[in-house]
């Protein structure tokens, strides 16, 4: 049967030698690893396993970009694709998952993914136009912000291509090796977490331009159309979809505050009188400038923003999403939604992760409040709670690595080491990655998810956040549909199931966790089957997901992570004396012990040789258990 969905080849680019190769996608490999990070992580391990000791910003660190089998289909919630590499922010495993248009266009050009090795001698960009692939000089674009280089490349390359192209680029933050620099497609779709933009910066890779005239095939089009008709009704009735279509992820500002999910004042509070100033109502009133979406997705959860005048004036462009609103807003006690939109624009233009950037500024504000740093350290900027102008100024300085901005450009963990004193008390990191804006004191499973995530504190490293938070309901998997009691009971089992299914759902098939939220497992698997022509069962995709999870865990172990790194920071474990989470902290000892047993880890936090062999990773087992 036809292998639909896939473009059928992977592009290998060596920036040091200039060599470009196209390798056909092996059918058995596709079946086993499905796509996205399933492909990316396996390919990455194969590339580094001979010599896994290197710096994330060295030429030895490969970078892998992979689409999923559904990327490029005109379906809700499948425009996403993935990137992975060793993280310059954490020194451990790094990956990111992003929507937009780039993945679809890469498929149209005939490629399922790109593997980039080495380092260019001069600033370069990759030009992909169907079969034509070239490494080109980017000196004239180096230094340009993401918006400028995106527009310039699209315009300048238009005469060479039959169809309009898409650009994936870094901004000055990536060039300046800001440790949490991101990759940005179409000005607002960010591969944000873990500093993949700095990896590009270290390789002197400014951008990839892609244009293509092809279209991935569908193996079983009639069945797919039938399922699409069924899903149309389900999407129309979905309250979650209706909510994020109306106000985007910012909807969570109104919903999350009820149960104490939203961190405030660097995780010291769960309520704040001014919270509504940065909620969806105020966004609509003050900055909303239209809906946006990803390729082929009718959910349209993205929103444009515009600030017409005042100190935070910004042109119409991608607006801040929930995580950004929380990090630059309530985390800093900043009630100016205009300044949050401006900080978001600065992050997009410069290519920086808004979660780490905003959280690092909130951390710095607390250091300032406690006298660990003063205006002498911060170049005259009064880093005080709610000082929106200072927050925006510091965001710009971080992107440029200017003055105190260079300290914060390393992320909060390294900044705490630089600042000294008790600065580490204000950290919100796990494995060096700043926690996202969902409080484990409100849902204990998040705590375990953050602690054992291979890339550090992350709410999207599995589907734990979606399952415990309630946006998904997977009746085929008991752990993802049961009603757990409050507290930490059953959270280890929940995390294991959410990892196994999540690795299939959002890492390999690369469904969007938002646009795909109404799908149950049967529907999700059928979508993959009808597009690819494979006949996956739930058991098979869970096995593939489990294998990928151990791969990612093993890679982060290979880069040095151990049991001591599977801990929540003190700040997230501090009992709050009032509010919805009053008196509640996750029982980490219990959950970790249960999880280690379920996952068959040794006491050092490394999966045993036995379990790695069982899931089909004997090479990883050999690397981790050489003695």
């Amino acid at each position: 049967m036809t292998m639909g969905g896939y473009a059928g080849q992977i592009l290998y680019v060596n920036l040091s030698s200039g060599e470009i190769k196209k390798k056909p996608l092996d059918r058995e490999f596709a079946r086993k690893y499905i796509g996205g990070l399933g492909f990316g992580t396996r390919i990455y391990l194969d590339l580094i396993k001979e010599n896994p000791a290197f710096d994330a910003l060295s030429a030895s660190n490969p970078f892998v970009l992979m689409t999923g089998p559904l990327t490029g289909m005109k379906l809700n919630g499948v425009a996403r694709w993935t990137v992975c590499s060793k993280s310059p922010l954490t020194g451990f495993w790094g990956d990111s998952n992003v929507g937009g248009f780039f993945g679809a266009y890469l498929k149209f050009a005939g490629y399922d993914g790109i593997v980039i090795a080495g380092k260019a001698q001069t600033p370069s960009y990759l030009f992909i136009n169907d079969e034509t692939v070239e490494i080109r000089n980017a000196e004239s674009y180096w230094g340009q912000d993401v918006y400028t280089v995106t527009d310039a490349l699209k315009e300048n390359l238009k005469p060479e291509t039959k169809r309009a192209g898409q650009v994936l680029a870094i901004g000055p933050a990536g060039e300046n090796l800001v440790r949490f620099a991101s990759l940005i497609n179409n000005k607002g779709h960010a591969a944000g977490r873990t500093g993949m933009g700095a990896v590009w910066g270290s390789k002197l890779l400014k951008a990839i331009f892609v244009s293509g005239t092809g279209q991935p095939e569908v193996a079983q089009p009639e069945k797919l159309e039938e399922l699409k008709a069924e899903l149309k009704v389900i999407y129309a009735e979905s309250i979650g979809i209706s909510a994020i279509h109306a106000t985007g992820t910012a909807t969570h500002m109104d919903v999350g505050i009820i149960g104490g999910d939203i961190p405030i004042k660097n995780w010291q509070l769960t309520d704040w009188d001014e919270i509504n100033e940065i909620g969806p109502g105020m966004i609509e009133e003050k900055i909303f400038a239209g809906h946006k979406t990803c390729y082929g997705c009718g959910v349209a959860c993205k929103k444009n923003a515009e600030v017409k005048d005042g100190p935070f004036k910004m042109e119409k462009g991608p607006g801040p999403e929930y995580e950004t609103i929380a990090t630059f807003g309530c985390m800093c006690l900043n009630s100016s939604i205009e300044s949050i939109a401006k900080a978001n624009e600065i992050c997009n233009r410069n290519g920086m992760d808004t979660i780490t950037c905003g959280s690092t500024i909130a951390f710095a504000i607390e250091c300032f409040e406690n006298g660990l740093i003063t205006e002498k350290d911060t170049d005259g900027i009064r880093l005080t709670w709610g000082n929106s102008e200072a927050i925006v100024k510091m965001t710009e300085k971080i992107a440029r690595r200017e003055g105190f901005g260079a300290v914060l450009a390393q992320g909060s963990l390294k900044a705490a080491e630089h600042i000294g004193g008790n600065a580490a008390d204000f950290l919100t990191t796990v494995k060096g990655l700043e926690a996202p804006m969902h409080d484990p004191r409100s849902a204990h499973g998040y705590g375990l998810a953050y602690a054992i995530s291979p890339r550090g504190a992350c709410h999207e490293a599995s589907l734990t956040f979606e399952a415990e938070g309630g946006t998904i309901f997977i009746p085929e998997i008991p752990e993802l549909s049961s009603d757990l009691p409050e507290g930490s009971e059953g959270r280890a089992e929940l995390n294991v199931a959410a990892q196994d299914y999540g690795m299939f759902f959002s890492n390999c098939a690369v469904f969007c966790n938002l646009g795909g939220m109404p799908l149950n497992a049967t529907q999700a698997i059928n979508l993959v089957n009808y597009v690819t022509g494979f006949d996956y069962t739930l058991e098979e995709v869970l096995a593939a997901g489990r294998r990928l999870w151990y791969l990612k865990r093993g890679l982060t172990n290979l880069f040095g992570a151990r049991a001591k790194d599977d801990r929540l920071p003190r700040r997230l474990m501090t009992v709050l004396e009032e509010g919805p989470t009053e008196g509640s902290v996750p029982d980490m000892d219990r959950m970790l012990a249960e999880f280690y047993e379920l996952r068959d880890f040794d006491s050092d936090g490394v999966p045993t040789k036995k379990v790695l062999d069982q899931v089909g990773l004997p090479d990883l087992a050999a690397l981790l258990h050489q003695s």
């Binding site: 979650g240 106000t247 919903v255 505050i257 009820i258 938070g469």
Partner: protein, 146 residues
């Protein structure tokens, strides 16, 4: 069987509370701005209540099955009760259809910030109006079964 042994008790509790909320300016002003008319269809025990914010003051009308509502919300009385303590994961309840909403959902979600002060009012209201046994934030003793 749910927490409320009969519809009469639940009606006293919920209608009394809605009237209190409707007479609390910090909440009522915003509800009235919305012009929203919501019908709550409760089960176990069964009860229908309309909250009508279309006029100059919020009106609470139990047993009103004829007014055309903008939004219909259906849920068990237990879910409703827990909701007003801030104990219901709204996202989960909606996803799992423990709460079913029909109508312009974004308009309903916009009311969440407005009603937020009501969560703190509910336990106090129960204590002060003879419903102390239903205050589940305290050591809860279920009412004697019928």
């Amino acid at each position: 069987m749910g927490m409320f042994k009969d519809a009469e008790t639940f009606e006293k509790v919920i209608v009394g509370f809605f009237n209190l909320v409707g007479n609390t300016p910090i909440i009522a002003d915003k509800l009235l701005q919305s012009k929203m008319v919501i019908r709550f269809n409760y089960t176990d025990p069964d009860l229908v209540v309309v909250v009508d914010c279309a006029g100059d003051k919020a009106e609470v009308r139990p047993h009103d099955k004829t007014t055309t509502a903008v939004v219909e919300m259906s849920m068990s009385s237990d879910i409703a009760h827990r909701f007003w303590f801030g104990m219901v994961n709204l996202t989960k309840a909606l996803t799992r259809k423990e709460m079913v909403a029909k109508g312009p959902i974004p308009k309903v979600l916009k009311l969440l910030p407005a009603i937020k002060p009501a969560y703190a009012m509910y336990p106090k209201y129960l204590d002060e109006n003879g419903f102390r046994n239903y205050n589940i934030t305290k050591a809860y003793t279920p009412p004697p079964s019928a």
